[in-house]
């Protein structure tokens, strides 16, 4: 019904449907002022279309409130902090820099000396992101080796492939690197043939790595 049609006088009360509709969502989430709430309640008593609207909104909000995010499970949560610490170490090797030295130039000079030393001994920086590193790693591995690496990161994964579809924890770059370092010869491989044989969550992870790496 249009605003003009809905705004009519009944028993001396002006029906303010527009205002009621504006205030209704706030009232339903408990954030309307006492005066506004009183206004809406009075209006709903007198206006059937707004009452219907109120019911529809209630249903919608009720439906939203019950839509839960699936919990990734305790295995995931128990690995969360160690993975985060890995990631912090990857991205941020030290606590935030504070210039505690009296002469910042001295720090810069020290850093330059260290870098020069690192170049002399042949040190090379890691790739930019964990995902790039994982893509590089998986790009060099053979299918069987990836399976073995997964088995190492998640003991029992391979043995329970057909039934256990509940791998919840994504391995960190460091975990994968460590695992693959053990089994990795330099070789090209058919990653996706292996990926198809892995549990769904692991497949998703590989797909994700591929997206990140390939696009």
């Amino acid at each position: 019904m249009r605003e003009k049609e809905m705004r009519r006088v009944v028993g001396g009360t002006v029906r303010r449907c527009g205002r009621a509709k504006e205030l209704l969502p706030l009232m339903l989430v408990g954030e309307a002022s006492a005066g506004d709430e009183e206004f809406v309640r009075t209006h709903l008593h007198e206006c059937a279309p707004c009452q219907e609207e109120s019911e529809r909104l209630r249903t919608l909000l009720g439906g939203l409130a019950t839509a839960e995010v699936p919990d990734p499970g305790e295995v995931y949560w128990s690995a969360f902090l160690p993975r985060l610490r890995d990631r912090i170490a990857d991205k941020h090797p030290h606590r935030p820099i504070r210039w505690t030295l009296p002469w910042p130039a001295l720090s810069v000079g020290t850093a330059m000396l260290l870098m020069a030393g690192a170049l002399v001994v042949g040190w090379q920086p890691h790739s930019n992101t964990p995902f790039q590193r994982m893509t590089e790693i998986t790009g060099r591995a053979r299918p069987q080796e990836i399976r073995e690496a997964f088995e190492k990161v998640y003991p029992g994964t391979e043995a329970s492939l057909p039934n256990d579809r509940s791998i919840q924890v994504l391995p960190s770059a460091n975990q994968m690197q460590e695992a693959l370092d053990v089994v990795l010869p330099a070789d090209e491989s058919d990653i996706y043939a292996t990926v198809r044989a892995l549990p769904p969550e692991a497949q998703k992870w590989f797909m994700r790595v591929s997206y990140r790496g390939a696009v």
Binding site: R56, G63, I88, Q203
Partner: protein, 184 residues
Amino acid sequence: MTATPDLNERDVDLVRRFQAGEDRAFDELVQAHRREIYRLAYRLLGNHADADDLTQDAFVRVYRSLARFRKESSFRTWMTRIVLNLAADRRSERTAKRQVSLEEIPLKELGVEAGPAARRFPFAERAVQRAVGLLPPRQRETLILRIFQGMKFQEIAAVMGCTVGTAKANFFHALKGLRERARV
């Protein structure tokens, strides 16, 4: 859930300890907020892999910036703002690369069966989730913060850097849009 004064005090204490050099205080902050942040990330991005990545990245950013956090807002407000910013970056990356969330690819195309996670989302819930995902970003974020994170409009305004009136208007339009899309 709105942060109670007790939780706020706990956060303030943990932040103070971290800023004083106690690294373990950060772990306690993570333990206290990780589930809420994961749920927020999941609702913003719609799948586990992205939510996991975003949650981890958000805490990395917190770790990096916490020394400079000046407590002008609550820790929770500050952290939520970080998550929203990171999610916005992810969405623009996705758009730029035309990357599709794996949750949007039918499982058959991935060659896998519907697992327990898919079974936990009956069709109606997925339809609502999809409809939420189609809302304009500011409306979607407001709706998620109000309905799922239980934030008051004042806190939402602080997180999103807008007035309380704008936050309320975004919420109003989000519900309207959702009703039209979900045909409720």
